[in-house]
Subunit: 348 residues, 2 copies
Amino acid sequence: MTAPRLRTRRLDLRDGRVDLSHGAGGRATAQLIDEIFRPAFDNPMLDRGNDQAEFSVPAGRMVMSTDAYVISPLFFPGGDIGSLAVHGTINDLAMAGAQPLHLAASYIIEEGFPLGDLQRIAASMGRAAREAGIAIVTGDTKVVERGKGDGLYIATSGIGLIEGERSVCPASIRAGDAVLISGDIGRHGMAILATREGLAFESPIQSDCAPLVAPVQALLKAGLEIHCLRDLTRGGLATALIELAESSRTAIGVDEVAIPVTDLVRGACEILGLEPSYVANEGRFVCILPESQAEAALAILAAHATGSPPARIGSVRPGPAGMAILRSVIGAERILDRLSGEQLPRIC
Amino acid sequence: MTAPRLRTRRLDLRDGRVDLSHGAGGRATAQLIDEIFRPAFDNPMLDRGNDQAEFSVPAGRMVMSTDAYVISPLFFPGGDIGSLAVHGTINDLAMAGAQPLHLAASYIIEEGFPLGDLQRIAASMGRAAREAGIAIVTGDTKVVERGKGDGLYIATSGIGLIEGERSVCPASIRAGDAVLISGDIGRHGMAILATREGLAFESPIQSDCAPLVAPVQALLKAGLEIHCLRDLTRGGLATALIELAESSRTAIGVDEVAIPVTDLVRGACEILGLEPSYVANEGRFVCILPESQAEAALAILAAHATGSPPARIGSVRPGPAGMAILRSVIGAERILDRLSGEQLPRIC
């Protein structure tokens, strides 16, 4: 008795496209996993071919986070949906002071999506994961009909471990704390917008998309008393400060002149009538800690900077509770408010 | 200095629709979370409003799983995308012998999706999670433009803990083991197909969508030496048996007459030219364990059955390695093969 198994031709990564059979859980799905995802992610847990990954954990505090990525376009200066889906989720873990451990990834692919693009994105995910020292241990692939998606959506979830007893969260913020920023803001949003709208600048704006695990671990390992960390994604710096002020029941005051913005981003924002402090980032965060440790933290952040140097942009005040306050270039103070509409859809 | 905050009207759950601002990370996103997801999921970790959930874990073995759910239609007899997204992922954890711990959920919503439907689905997720004794601890909401999605896609990820030393996985399968099935097959796939195609049967076929944590935990707590468990989702029983035979390098032989199929499902399959053993299920699993413990396991499965009684459908043979073999009603044996095309798109 011999198997009636067909000899399967390898995927055509140059001209081939995803079809509905790749999401049916049968032979085509197995081939997609074997020829695209396994080689890109290359880890023994995934190779086991189970519907779940198994691993050992020490007793302690764990964090879990998830994000769906629907960015358009899928490829942009400084990254793609794959690197974004890895960095975005591990950064959420890092912001709790955790060392990321493992990632899981689900793909919703539109019928007709080029197999070559899928391979490029999977390779980018694998590279981003290896650079961050983590593994993509389990996944799922679904295919939807043409016109029911937009190329590719990815949802990633991650878990991480917190060492020590420290609580890095808004509740730890205290009046008098210094507010630091890890680099210049607005690059990711403006890179996407410029690509999408076909805006030509002298040099293209590169997204700041980057993993934030190394600077965060360096801050923690230096023994600094980090009160709170927050990455500046959708809604940008302004929305992050509002959320932190509200959660901590403090006031957070920042100086507009101290906030690093490159001339390129500032110019693009002016053309488009946007405020840099509301524009999305994918590799920048604020760090809130005792004033006395600000200089030490800035030195560590400077050593890990991927753009303009970090800066001290403000401080925490006792009140008015729940307010983020911006002192403008001319010295006037105004309360920052959440955007009420949609500034830029599908930025991440 | 007073806040320039607008008094926000509550969401119109009767006639309102999701728009792009609900995915922008600003005020509308916060309102969607506060008025739809938090009340439905009701747990303190989500209430903390961070981008990640924090919790304590004991030292030990953990499993992680993820699935994207793109089912169409969103509501079907016996469930909806919400209950499916919870059951599907916790079942993947249960199949490793784990007790599910926490879930994370990401939503990709198409602009124009009714807020009332979103609330109904969130309520269904919350209910399914509570019934399974787990919490949905973190999430993310994205909105895509009209025509770039299909109402709602959900990706869930879960983690669970394995007690004891047992390895419930294909590598533990041994020749001579009994192969049990927890109930009748084919209901989920036929329920979806009947709904989608507007087929009218005398009584509607109900999906078997259900959590499998309780029967699995009962099998383990009874001290049975469970070698392997596998839920029968996309590709159905046949694909699961093929995957298990391949992973374990054994042969798995099953008797067609022993496989429970209701008359309703068998009739619908005949009309549509489908084989029940390839049709998807969302609340059925196979259990492989030593022959001597088959009767005890069947008694436990019977106590947790949600449809037809469980059955012993076959046994594991030493070879030919990697083959799943079906003995037909007339006694002829044939090797089962993976489906090469798409039987039924967007079944889960």
